[in-house]
């Protein structure tokens, strides 16, 4: 049954639809599939085979040992986790303020948060490079973390605001009637109820920090030991030939966590923890 039509589709329409679905799946999945095939193929790029001609895990072994990707993965994990923790706390506090209180300049602050998300990173990278340099944090992970917190924050506030607003005010009132202070209400009512939103927001911050490329390249400069995965990939590009098998193996290592998290976010976003809480 179609949403756009109430009639039964004809057999010809059915076949056409099947063809369209197959073509769509080939288009969407081919790059990821090709990445995996090349990563697991000792003869990547030497023939036109669409399955690994000579299956191997050698590329993965190479990138994780000689390639130094173990270090890059650890750096990225540290940067992403600290970014997530700090930005989640800041975003939660700010989102409660804009979702639960009416105060002067509230609309202006919301608009500001919306607008700064549109600012191109290319405009921020010049002054932030100078700023981080003055703080003597160039080539350090800390400098990168500070920038990523700021990049993740506006979207985090914007998204969490919706989750906080979705918590029924009646629950808060009930807590006050039971004699709870604002702090107690925040800890025992609001925090558990926005937890799914907090998880979803955190995963988005994680992905932002994990994928970011421009600032990592600019702020880390030549400090190879502090490289994150996004710029670590570049070390496999030789001057004359590229190690494509290794590049695709490393790309697989970067992409898999992001894909797993994406699927998690999808589920979490749908979870309605507050539904039915008021009816009790």
């Amino acid at each position: 049954m179609s949403v756009l039509s109430v009639r039964r589709p004809t057999p010809r329409a059915q076949v056409g639809k099947a063809v369209a679905v197959v073509a769509l799946l080939v288009f969407t999945l081919f790059p990821a599939y090709w990445m995996l095939v090349s990563a697991f193929d000792a003869k990547a790029g030497l023939g036109t085979s669409f399955v690994p001609a000579e299956p191997t895990v050698e590329h993965f072994r190479f990138v994780l040992t000689e390639g130094g990707f173990d270090v890059f993965l650890r750096n990225s994990a540290v940067v992403a986790l600290v970014t997530v923790l700090v930005s989640a706390v800041l975003a939660l506090l700010a989102s409660v303020a804009v979702a639960r209180f009416r105060f002067r300049l509230r609309t202006q602050i919301l608009l500001m948060i919306l607008v700064v998300q549109m600012v191109p990173l290319e405009a921020l990278v010049i002054p932030l490079f100078v700023q981080v340099r003055n703080l003597q944090l160039l080539e350090t992970l800390l400098g990168l973390i500070v920038v990523y917190v700021a990049l993740a924050l506006p979207f985090g506030i914007w998204m969490l605001r919706g989750f906080v607003a979705a918590v029924p005010v009646e629950l808060e009132e009930a807590a006050y009637i039971d004699g709870a202070s604002w702090g107690r209400m925040f800890r025992s009512i609001l925090l558990p109820l926005v937890a799914p939103g907090l998880v979803a927001t955190s995963i988005f911050s994680f992905i932002t920090a994990w994928n970011e490329f421009l600032f990592a390249m600019t702020l880390l400069g030549g400090a190879t030991e502090n490289y994150t995965v996004a710029i670590g990939l570049r070390s496999f590009f030789g001057q004359f030939s590229n190690e494509w098998g290794a590049i695709m193996a490393a790309s697989t290592l970067i992409t898999v966590p992001v894909m797993v998290f994406f699927i998690l976010v999808q589920r979490r976003l749908a979870a309605g923890l507050t539904s039915g809480a008021v009816k009790g």
């Binding site: 679905v21 800041l90 990173l121 405009a123 506006p154 009132e173 699927i263």
Partner: protein, 321 residues
């Protein structure tokens, strides 16, 4: 202007003041929103607003390495902007690569994403779930790795695209697709559409499923064909959704950076393929002309700001902030 009057029983009123109308709130309760906002706002002010002001100040200076080291200003007025706006590079290469590409990419992404949404809406629930999950995989692919995979597919020596064309007899020798401006941007377009259409599909699909069935049914009984039903019934119902989707895609496609920068020749060696973002970066960090690069970045920011204003007005129409 937001009012300071609480709209419902506000958390900071406490249970007793709620009954007495206009509450007499304590200083702590009144400043609570600001206390909650302070850390976040401080971060945004120092790392977003101040840099934004500063990039504008840099754009008015001949700002190079000596100025970065000494911290001394070196004002030259609007010199950088004059140089950018009179540059042949801007009008013949950079603006077409930025605006022309964004127009093309947005049209392609929105058209393709909507077509896929219509296809998904016509599937059964199980298939819809399976296909949507696969589409998510395209969305989840990070820009950096996604770009490298496309570069690998189109690689001149060992890429699968050249292999297939040659084994089909369509070309005799491998072609380097990255040297020509048009084929370079065709690959960028493929990359952007592949990465961007899932957002359009998911958003439009959610809205499609919300269109009342009675409308479709009535139109079908009246004899309206598939295209007619789509453009006369569905599109008007989804106007707001399309507005948001188009504006968001426009903002993203103006800011394409990694997808160009990481391609062979994209990092400044091929002057034919520069767009505003890459040009700004290459002039700043490649040539140490930070002032000139800042002027280009300011132009890009102003363009995005104009689009953002439209976006904000669209949003304000839909919901109260």
């Amino acid at each position: 202007m937001a009012s300071s009057v609480p709209v419902a029983v506000r958390a900071d009123d406490g249970p007793s003041s709620a009954r007495t109308g206009r509450p007499r709130r304590s200083w702590v309760a009144r400043s609570r929103p600001w206390l909650l906002l302070a850390p976040g706002l401080a971060v945004l002010a120092v790392l977003m607003l101040w840099p934004l002001l500063r990039v504008f100040l840099f754009s008015l200076q001949d700002y190079g390495l000596p100025q970065i080291v000494s911290g001394e200003p070196n004002w030259i007025g609007l010199g950088n902007f004059a140089e950018v706006l009179t540059s042949e590079q801007l009008w013949s290469v950079v603006l077409p690569n930025t605006i022309g590409f964004a127009v093309l990419a947005v049209s392609a992404t929105v058209a393709f994403g909507t077509a896929v949404a219509v296809l998904l809406a016509s599937l059964g629930t199980a298939w819809r779930a399976v296909v949507s999950s696969c589409i998510m995989a395209a969305w989840a692919m990070p820009a950096v790795t996604g770009t490298y995979v496309w570069v690998w597919i189109f690689d001149a020596d060992r890429g699968v695209f050249n292999h297939v064309l040659q084994s089909l007899g369509l070309q005799d020798a491998p072609v380097n697709w990255f040297t020509d401006r048009w084929s370079f941007y065709a690959i960028v377009l493929l990359n952007i559409v592949h990465h961007g259409f899932p957002f359009v599909t998911v958003t439009v699909l959610a809205a499609l499923l919300g269109v009342p069935r009675e409308l479709i049914e009535a139109a079908e009984i009246d004899g309206a064909g598939g295209w007619r039903r789509f453009f006369s019934i569905i599109v008007p119902q989804l106007r707001q959704v399309f507005a948001v989707v188009i504006i968001m895609s426009t903002i993203w496609d103006f800011k394409v950076f990694a997808q160009v920068f990481l391609m062979p020749g994209g990092a400044g060696t091929n002057r034919e393929v520069l767009n505003l973002g890459v040009w700004s970066y290459v002039e700043s960090f490649g040539q140490n002309r930070y002032g000139f690069g800042a002027a280009i970045a300011v132009l890009l920011t102003l363009m995005l700001l104009a689009i953002t204003v439209v976006y904000v007005r669209t949003i304000l129409k839909e919901e109260e902030l």
